[in-house]
Structures are given as C-alpha cells and as structure tokens.
C-alpha cells in the first residue's frame, strides 16, 4: 500500500463498502464473525512478518518479507474494518482490545516465526490456502468481501510464488537447508487441517453465496502443494491433525504472547489516539 493509500484509508475509516447489502435473510453478525476469522489470520501473520524486519538472511529478503507483511496487514485492516462496521467497532478496537479468547485465527498463523525455513514453509501453506480461498471469495454475493478478495488474490499469488521459489531453493539446495525445510514442514503439518474445516456458520454463509466452504479447498490446495514438495525433494508428512479450535475461541498457546507484545502500548493508553 502506498503511503497515500494508508493515510487515505485511515481518513475514511475502515473499508465499509457502503454499496454492500447482504441479503436480509443473512445475519450480519455471521458475516462479521466470518470477516474476523479471515482478518485475524492476516493480522497475526502480518505481525509475524513484522518480527523479521532487519533480521532477514539478505537485504532483498528484508524488503520482500516486509512487502508480504504489508500486504497481509492491508488485508487485515480491510477485513477487520468490515467486521467492525457491522458490529460498531473500529479496526483498532478489534486488533488491540480483544483478548486471545476473542481472536478467531487458525493455530497455524500463531506459530512463532522460527528460522527462515519455518517462515517459508508456513508462507507456502498459507498462501496456497489463501489463494484458493480468495479466488473463490472474489465471486462472493457480499460486495465488500468480494472486493477485498479481488485485491488479496493478486497479492497472495505473489506470496505463493515467493514461497514456492524458496521452498525449491531450500529443499534442493544444501543438506542443511533440506533438513531445515523438511523439519519446518513436519512441524507445521498437524496444523494444516484446521484451515479446511467448516462449521455451521460458514455453511449458512456459503449457502447464501457469501462465504467459501473451506472443506472444498483441500483438494485444490493439495494439487498445488504436492508437486511443489515433490520438486523440492521434500516428503509430505503423514501425521495426525491437531485439534485446533482457533476459529472458536480455543486459541493457540502462542497467541497470548503475540498479543501481549502487539497490544502493550495501545492498552497502556486506552482511549488515546495515535
């Protein structure tokens, strides 16, 4: 996002999409909850990317990781802004004044940043998932969600390509890099399944043409990921899926620590503007 766009968005308040009028049969709270799930995923991951700044293995990668972080943060602001507009809260109230129990992100997003391999492994999985998701969500009957998704799908296509290239370099690079990226994939794999679980709320919205049925994304996701892992000479892990619960108020242990850091200053001065 350009500086101007950042400031503009701030001046206008969150992207509220005034033209959007979801069908009256749909509960606005459902849409807000759905937008929070996607927005929290993006926000928490943006925070993890922010942790990389000035620590990357080379300058070009400092620039690239920050770029990806900025894309995710932009997506988070649009989605949280929309959720807030439906429930009377601002993006900052949602980001800074909810507890970990009120966040709705998947556990995968909360994993600590780890080494470069862990970051690339997660980026590969998340970008492949988000690409399938946003590609379909850009057809949503909810114009605001569709608009956010249309922009996001282009951004995550770049994230996916970036992660794919690095997965190949690390997987088929040195013994050390191969070992590290395989460990990274093994460690995160139990958390992948949660991304593809659906529930009643999502089904209600999917029926109304508003949300994407997450369970329908697993096949397309595998079709993208499996060839990349194979080309990178990596083994797809065969491990039990973790219980998850991030979408329903059963957060990852890591989330509270992340929020403690992210929210500390805002909470020190409640009600202040910045």
């Amino acid at each position: 996002m350009t500086e101007q766009a950042v400031t503009q968005q701030a001046a206008n308040g969150p992207a509220t999409g005034t033209t959007s009028s979801p069908s009256s049969a749909v509960d606005r709270r459902d849409i807000a909850e759905y937008a929070l799930r996607l927005g929290d995923d993006a926000l928490v991951l943006a925070q993890r990317m922010g942790e990389w700044v000035s620590h990357a293995p080379e300058l070009e990668e400092d620039v690239a990781l920050t770029n990806i972080g900025l894309d995710l943060l932009g997506q988070a602001r649009a989605l949280l802004g929309y959720a807030g507009s439906l429930t009377g809260r601002t993006e900052d109230e949602l980001a800074y004044f909810r507890s970990d129990l009120e966040f709705r992100c998947a556990h995968l997003m909360c994993l600590p940043r780890g080494d470069f391999a862990a970051t690339i492994g997660r980026m590969l999985v998340v970008a492949a998932y988000q690409w399938e998701l946003y590609e379909r969500l850009s057809e949503s009957a909810d114009e605001t969600l569709a608009g956010i998704a249309k922009k996001a799908v282009k951004e995550v296509a770049y994230h996916l390509e970036h992660a794919r290239m690095w997965t190949l370099r690390l997987g088929d690079g040195t013994d050390e890099s191969h070992r590290r990226i395989q460990v990274a994939i093994d460690d995160l794999w139990p958390l992948v399944d949660e991304l593809f679980r659906t529930d009643d709320l999502e089904q209600r919205l999917a029926t109304a043409g508003i949300a994407v049925d997450s369970s329908a994304l697993r096949g397309p996701f595998d079709a993208v990921i499996d060839p990349i892992l194979a080309e990178a000479t990596l083994t797809r892990p065969d491990v039990p899926a973790a219980a998850g619960g991030g979408r329903h108020g059963r957060p990852s242990e890591h989330l509270g620590h992340l929020l403690a850091e992210m929210q500390v200053l805002a909470r020190q001065f409640p009600g202040a503007s910045w």
């Binding site: 926000l43 293995p57 080379e58 620039v63 770029n67 988070a76 602001r77 890099s177 503007s273």
Partner: protein, 336 residues
Amino acid sequence: MESTTPTGAPAVDPAHDASSDAASAEFDAVIAADGRIEPRDAMPDAYRKTLVRQMSQHANSEIIGMQPEGNWITRAPSLMRKAILMAKVQDEAGHGLYLYSAAETLGTSRAEMTDALLAGTARYSSIFNYPTPTWADMGAIGWLVDGAAIVNQVPLCRCSYGPYARAMVRICKEESFHQRQGFEILLTLSRGTAAQHEMAQDAVNRWYAPSLMMFGPPDADSSHSAQSMAWKIKRFSNDELRQRFVDMLVPQAEALGLTLPDEGLRWNEQRGHYDYGELDWAEFKAVLRGEGQCNAQRLTHRRRAHEDGAWVRAAASAYAAKQAAKDDARQEVSAA
C-alpha cells in the same frame, strides 16, 4: 543474494584511473564545467576512494537505521501506524540496496562493503547508536533524523558522481515522506493526552542535539570537507547545512507545540538566521568511539542476522548451481 543478484558493477579498468595527464585534465574539465563523472570515466584514485567511503557509509547507515525503528513495528499503537512504519523501514532497506549498487559501480563489491561493516572497519551514521525507548522516538526520528538527512542529501542530488546523484534523487523523495510522517506522529502526540505530549517532548529533547551533530564537526575541525567541496561531491559546508536545518526546525517546532531544548536558540536579525547553542562535541566523539548506548548492540544484531542467514545464502547458491548444471546438460542433449 550477494552471489546471484546482478549488481551491474563493471570491473574497474586500471587504465581508467586518472593517472595519465590527459585523463586527469579531462576529469578536471568535467568537474570545472559542473558535469557528471560516470563509472567508466577516468577519475583520480583519491576521488574514487572518497566516494566509496562516503557511499558505503551512507548505505550502511540505511541498513543499521532499520534497527531503532524496527524496534517498534510489533508494538505500533494502531494498525495504520504499523503499516506506515513497516513501509518506512522497508524504504530504508531499499535505500541501502540502491546505494550499495551505486557504490559497486566504483569497483568495490557489496560483499566487501558488508564485510567491512560487520568487521567494524566501515562506519555508519552515529545517530543510530541512540536508543528508541518510546513510541515518540518514531516521530522524533522521522522529523529530526530524516529531516537532517534530507538537508544533507538534497545537495547530493547534484553531486559530481552520476550514480550517486541519481540514487539521491530517488531517495530524497522518500525521505521527505518520512519526515512528514514523523512530524505527524509528533503532532498527534503533542495534541493528545498530557502523557502523550510529555512523551513527544521527551523524545525531541533526546534527539535534537544528536540530529544537529549529524552534519559533522564544525567546519574548522572537518578533515574531509575542503577536498570534497573541490570535487563537487559536497556543495555546502557542515555548518551551512546545520544552519539551514536549524532555520527549518524552529517554525516546525512551534507548529508542533513542542520546545527545542536549546537555550542559545534565538533569531539573529543581523545574520538573518537563528543562532543556536554550543553542541557537546565531546559526547559526539564518545559515541563515535563506540561509547554510545547501542553501538555494540547494533553491530551484534547485524552480524547475527548475517550469520543466521548464511545457510540460506548457501542454499540459494547451491540451488542455482544445480539448475545451471541441469540447463547445460539439457543444452548438450538438444545439441547432440
């Protein structure tokens, strides 16, 4: 990736230093005519060395400068501020990249410049050895440090060395965004709660004098200035630039509702400039010697990032080599 990124650095042709009389006369003529020296032109060795020193120091400053502001990315108090800060620190990484590339046109590789930084033999701006304990430091750095950088760098857009001048044009545009953003952070704090106002004033108190010292020692004590001015690398003296900066700050501080911590600051009708107080050059020298609050921390951070990334760079090189070997094999097959 040092090994894979095309840097466009041409090899230095030893015949092209200005050792012959004809070459040296040509160099002098270009400088006298206010022209631009380009990478393949003849130039005196000392000119080349001075530029490599200055440009690599400048690039190093951009890179080390990512740390004090990176310190607040994860704690920025609003999502808008977080986005602006991330974009700013990313710009600084980009500035480092342009400047290393521009310096490479003089025949010194980025890897050599990086090694010198990590070994502690190359400098970076001493300003980044000061810490950023509060959010208001993000405002003070933008307003004062980026502000001083602009005053220093705008004349460099007319520097006699072409690649440096062109890099500066691009960088100065972004630096002026940074300064406005810093000003805006301080303005919001200054007009906020009493605690926020106090935080802003405290940051300005800490950054004011160090930012004035960014222009370097007083002209009387400046060792490199005269030659750099003759070569038209530098266009104004340290004290001239510092004066320009002070004159710019005073009305802006008033607009901010903040006080500049300088008892000697007053309008001098005769000079048509603001007088300002003595700066503590002993402290400046102490920080240069490594006695600042963060000297060791900044270098250790940079070294650790470089060492932690070694296996990643090795992997990228190994992968590139394997791909090249595969391409060669494919070409042989198709040629057979």
